[in-house]
Every structure is written in structure tokens, then in C-alpha cells.
């Protein structure tokens, strides 16, 4: 079957509201039907084998971690500590917003859970204090992207498993870019708020600062577990996920937020998000096997090498392509579809797989903030009761710093590759 039909069918089905998993299965099944040499039963075995891997166990576990962290009440403690520390600065709640996301990101690997938790509390608080609505929405949306970049990161686990790179290595590669994003967002806060003398609160006493910091300290436990596990080689990311989830459950009990209802919500949310992603993993495993069988990665490499032999030009093309894909497709689903083709192409250009991984992930994540299907926008609208079109208008100024971050990440590989290389995971 010609490749045009294979991909054409996929795109048409996607546009016709067919769920992503099934849009991938249709062309795969048609291919198997038309190819007499393909064994149908063993093809299904390949599809199931897609989720029969130990590193991928980290996906449901890290999703669960984010969901438990959300009900644990640890966010409030982090928020209070951040306010006590930087509250006296002009435009302080902007920095608090970014800082809270940065700490929370060690417990969460997805942007959506983050947006829901932060948006519900921080946006109304900022507006009540006199911050412009658009600024409040924009900084919340921008800082929600820290979660899926900083470890633990769901897109990183999916990317690593799909592209065959180390999960731990890609986790480490995300730390530098996440810090860069935090710095860029803080600069944005400074530029917007530097003249707002009115937007600050009285300086907290050193005692208050110390107490609130102490209260927030248990929140750093997951960072210790995950980083310690990877850097010390003590346990795999999957095992770190299991331990971190257990730790966070215990913390929830200590914070007196444990209830049958809240735990039920954790399991339900995890089942829904993990179930939808993992089914796509099985479909993509079959589709990817067919692409490999048809030598699509090699053909794609030849195609790109025919356009240019300059890796930087390739990266620019990659960025444009990914921004388009990311604007219509959910990031993890997009990774599962395009990485089997594009990761080998990037290798052909001699690019570092971890660097390319970070560029691809960051790029697709930006799609969460852009219409027409920017999920973060819709979640923000739903938790704040602000109409979607106002959210879009409020968030749009944040595209500039995000694009700047993307450019730096693209053209300065060392930000991503420095840490993995330092710890021998590059």
C-alpha cells in the first residue's frame, strides 16, 4: 500500500472525529489485510507489546502522582511559602505563580492537572489584588508548561520509550530547559509589573518565612525521590514513580486531606487519562511497526537530507512542522505518531537524541496554549469562569517569551544535554 494512502487515511480519519487510537488502527489494519505476507495474529501481539514494557509503567504512576499531589493540599503550603518569601516585591504574585509551578512540577508531569489546580486558586487571587486579568491568565498558562518539562514528565516518558532513549536521561535533560523557562517567565513578570508600586504586600517576618518554608518542605520529597533515584542509580524512574506516589498518599493523610471521595477521584482521573493514552500507545506500536517495515524513517531522512544537509535548517523545519501539529493534536498523542518517523531523521542529521526530544516536547506543549484546540486555554476558562475568547486574548502575549525560550532551546543544545552528560546519561 502506498504511503500516501497510509498517511492520507490517518489524517482524514483524525479530521472526522475518529479517536486518535482508532485513526491509527484503521490504516494499519487495511495494510495488514492487503499484505499477504503479514500475519494478523502476530501483528496484534506487536500492538499489545507496545504497553508490555517496564519503563512505560511510569506513565500511569506519574499521572497518579500528579493527581494525588493535587488533592494533598501541598500546593497551598508551597503557595504560602512562596508568598512569604517574595510577597514584598513589586508584582509579587506573578513570581509566586511561577515559583509555585516550579515546585509543584516536581510532583506533576502534565500541564492540565497543573492548570486546573493553579488556575482555580491563583487567577482569582491575582485579579482580586488588582493584577490585570490578561496578565494573570497568561502567566498561569505559561508556567503550567514547566510541569511536563521538569521531571517527572509524562511526555518525556512517552518520548523516551518511543524513541528508545533513557527515561532518566531525558528527565535530566528537562531540568535546564525548565529552569530557563522559569527565568524567562520571571523576566516577563518583571517587564510587565516593574512600575506597579501598588502590587506588593508587607514583608513577612523572618520567623513567618521560616515557618512557612518548613511547612512546604515535605513537598520537596518527591524531587528527592526522583532525582536521588536517577542520579544515585538507586532505582529506575518507574520505581521512583511508585515510591513517590506512596509518599504523596502518606503526605495526604498527614495533611488530613485523605477521604474516600478524594482518593476515588485520584483513581478515576488516573484511569481516564492513562487509559486514553495507553490505548494510543498500543495503536501507535502497530502503526510504527508498519512504518518501519515500509522504511518510512529512511525515506523521511532522505527527503529532509534532499532539502538540506544543515542540521540547523532541519531544526527550523522541524519547529515549523511541530508547531502546526501541536496546534491540532494533543502532545503525547502527537509524540506517538511523529517520533517514530522524525527521531531517526534527527539522528541522520547527527543531532543529540535528548536535545531533539526536548525541542519536540516543548514545541508540542506550546500547542496547549494556542487555539483552536489549546487545552490549557479551555481548562483555564472552565476553572475561572472567564470566557474562552478573553482567555485567548489574555494568554497571547505569553507566546513571545515562549517562542524565545523555544529558539534558545533549539539553538543551544547544551542547556538540555549538559546535565545528562555530566551524570553519564547522555
Amino acid at each position: 500500500m502506498s504511503l500516501t494512502i497510509l498517511f492520507g487515511l490517518l489524517i482524514v480519519l483524525l479530521m472526522l472525529r475518529v479517536p486518535v487510537a482508532f485513526s491509527l488502527l484503521v490504516p494499519s489494519l487495511v495494510y495488514l489485510f492487503l499484505d499477504p505476507t503479514a500475519n494478523f495474529g502476530s501483528a496484534i501481539q506487536r500492538s499489545v507489546a507496545g504497553v508490555n514494557t517496564f519503563p512505560l509503567l511510569a506513565v500511569p504512576l506519574f499521572m497518579m502522582l500528579g493527581n494525588v499531589a493535587n488533592i494533598s493540599g501541598v500546593t497551598d503550603k508551597i503557595y504560602e511559602a512562596a508568598t512569604a518569601l517574595v510577597g514584598h516585591v513589586r508584582g509579587s504574585l506573578g513570581y509566586v505563580n511561577v515559583l509555585t509551578s516550579f515546585v509543584f512540577a516536581w510532583m506533576s508531569g502534565a500541564a492540565i492537572a497543573d492548570t486546573a489546580a493553579m488556575g482555580r486558586v491563583q487567577v482569582p487571587a491575582m485579579i482580586a489584588r488588582g493584577y490585570p486579568q490578561g496578565f494573570s491568565l497568561g502567566i498561569t498558562a505559561g508556567s503550567s508548561l514547566v510541569s511536563p518539562i521538569l521531571p517527572p514528565s509524562i511526555p518525556a516518558v512517552i518520548y523516551a520509550v518511543t524513541a528508545g532513549v533513557s527515561v532518566g536521561g531525558l528527565f535530566l535533560a528537562g531540568i535546564g530547559p525548565a529552569i530557563l523557562l522559569v527565568i524567562v517567565l520571571s523576566i516577563s513578570v518583571w517587564i510587565s509589573m516593574r512600575k506597579r508600586e501598588d502590587l506588593k504586600v508587607a514583608k513577612a517576618s523572618p520567623k513567618t518565612q521560616a515557618i512557612s518554608l518548613l511547612k512546604a518542605l515535605p513537598g520537596f520529597g518527591t524531587a528527592v525521590i526522583i532525582l536521588g533515584g536517577i542520579l544515585g542509580g538507586i532505582f529506575t524512574p518507574t520505581e521512583a514513580a511508585g515510591i513517590a506516589v506512596t509518599y504523596m498518599f502518606i503526605l495526604t493523610v498527614i495533611y488530613r486531606r485523605a477521604s474516600l471521595r478524594s482518593f476515588g477521584k485520584v483513581f478515576r482521573d488516573t484511569t481516564v487519562t492513562a487509559g486514553s493514552i495507553l490505548l494510543i500507545v498500543t495503536a501507535a506500536a502497530l502503526f510504527g511497526w508498519i512504518l518501519a517495515r515500509e522504511r518510512v524513517p529512511q525515506l523521511a531522512a532522505e527527503f529532509f537530507l534532499g532539502i538540506t544537509d544543515n542540521p540547523w535548517v532541519f531544526l527550523i523545519l522541524l519547529n515549523v512542522l511541530l508547531l502546526l501539529v501541536g496546534s491540532v493534536l494533543e502532545p503525547t498523542a502527537a509524540i506517538l505518531i511523529i517520533v517514530p518517523v522524525l527521531a531517526p531523521v534527527a539522528m541522520a542529521f547527527g543531532l543529540d537524541p535528548l536535545h531533539v526530544g526536548i525541542v519536540i516536547i516543548f514545541n508540542l506543549l506550546m500547542g496547549l496554549l494556542t487555539p483552536p484546540v489549546g487545552l490549557v486555554l479551555f481548562v483555564l476558562s472552565s476553572v475561572t469562569d472567564i470566557p474562552v475568547k478573553d482567555v485567548v486574548r489574555g494568554v497571547s502575549p505569553i507566546y513571545l517569551p515562549l517562542l524565545a525560550t523555544l529558539m534558545v532551546l533549539t539553538f543551544v543544545p547544551a542547556i538540555s544535554t549538559f546535565l545528562p552528560a555530566l551524570f553519564g546519561l547522555g
Binding site: 514513580a241 495507553l278 498523542a333
Partner: protein, 169 residues
């Protein structure tokens, strides 16, 4: 949404089974760490059973997502269609889902039939793993048919807003 008693029962069972499988995955990962560091002799089967539990979880949870009608899809062109157009597109998507699930159901049967041998560390036959897919796809057929009937009889209007918010990440 009101559903009949047998459907509600299946729905509850799917949810319960998903939760149990999720807990199994978590429990086995912890057991693996415990046996390696505390007992100094890791069991050989924990990793394998944890993986098998995730395979089962994948398909049972996916069928639960199907029942909740929350599978990830592209909703880009929805705003361009009228309500009739949306209905037609929805119908088409539903037929595709049912057809694919049926084929995958048959495929899972072939896969399980072809792997009766055990040959695994835990002694479980590989066919057991494919039963998860088999049951999952059977349930997906069921829920997709129910949704198709609901759409046809006008009990459920495919709504744009709801879809936008329900896509999970």
C-alpha cells in the same frame, strides 16, 4: 446520563477492575524495590506480573474511557459544522470505532490462541495477556454500540464544549 441496570453494573465492574489493576501495578513496583533492597533477593516475577497488569489495565481502562466517551480526538473542525453535520460525522466516527474494535477483538483472539505456551518467569501463559485485550475490545464494542444507539435516538447530542474539556492529558 441514565443507563439501564446491566449497563451500570458493567460500568461499575470496569471501574473497579481498573482500580484494582492500578493498585496491583503500584503494589508490585513497591514489592520489587523492597525485595531488592531489604531482602537483597529480588523476585523474578514481580516485573513481569506488573507489566501484565498494565496490559490488562490499558484495555479495561480504555473501555471505561469509551463508556465515558472521553477518548482523545481532534475537534478542530467541529466549529465549522452545523448540528446536522456534526451528527453525521459523529455517526461515521462511531461506525469506524465499532468496526475496528470488532476486528481487534478477532485479532486478540488469534493472538491468544497462538500463544498457549507459558515460557514466562511467572509461569503465566502469554495467552492470558491477550485476554485483557480481548475483553477490553469486547467492552469497547458494547459501549460504542450503546453510544451509537443513543446518538441515533437523539438521547445524546454530541456537544462541542464537552469534548473540548474532556480530552485528557
Amino acid at each position: 446520563m441514565r443507563r439501564s441496570v446491566p449497563l451500570r453494573l458493567i460500568f461499575t465492574l470496569q471501574r473497579a477492575l481498573s482500580y484494582v489493576l492500578l493498585l496491583t501495578v503500584l503494589g508490585l513496583v513497591l514489592v520489587q524495590v523492597y525485595t531488592r533492597y531489604v531482602l537483597n533477593s529480588p523476585f523474578t516475577w514481580t516485573e513481569e506480573i506488573a507489566r501484565f497488569a498494565m496490559v490488562w489495565f490499558t484495555f479495561i481502562a480504555a473501555s471505561y474511557v469509551m463508556a465515558e466517551r472521553r477518548h482523545i480526538r481532534v475537534i478542530f473542525f467541529d466549529s465549522l459544522l452545523g448540528s446536522l453535520g456534526r451528527n453525521i460525522v459523529n455517526w461515521f466516527a462511531q461506525v469506524v470505532v465499532i468496526g475496528v474494535s470488532l476486528v481487534m477483538l478477532y485479532g486478540s483472539y488469534l493472538a491468544s490462541d497462538a500463544s498457549q505456551i507459558s515460557g514466562t518467569a511467572s509461569g503465566l501463559p502469554m495467552s492470558f495477556v491477550y485476554y485483557g485485550a480481548l475483553i477490553g475490545y469486547a467492552l469497547m464494542v458494547l459501549h460504542a454500540v450503546v453510544e451509537a444507539i443513543d446518538t441515533a435516538t437523539g438521547r445524546v447530542q454530541p456537544s462541542v464544549e464537552q469534548d473540548l474539556l474532556s480530552v485528557g492529558e
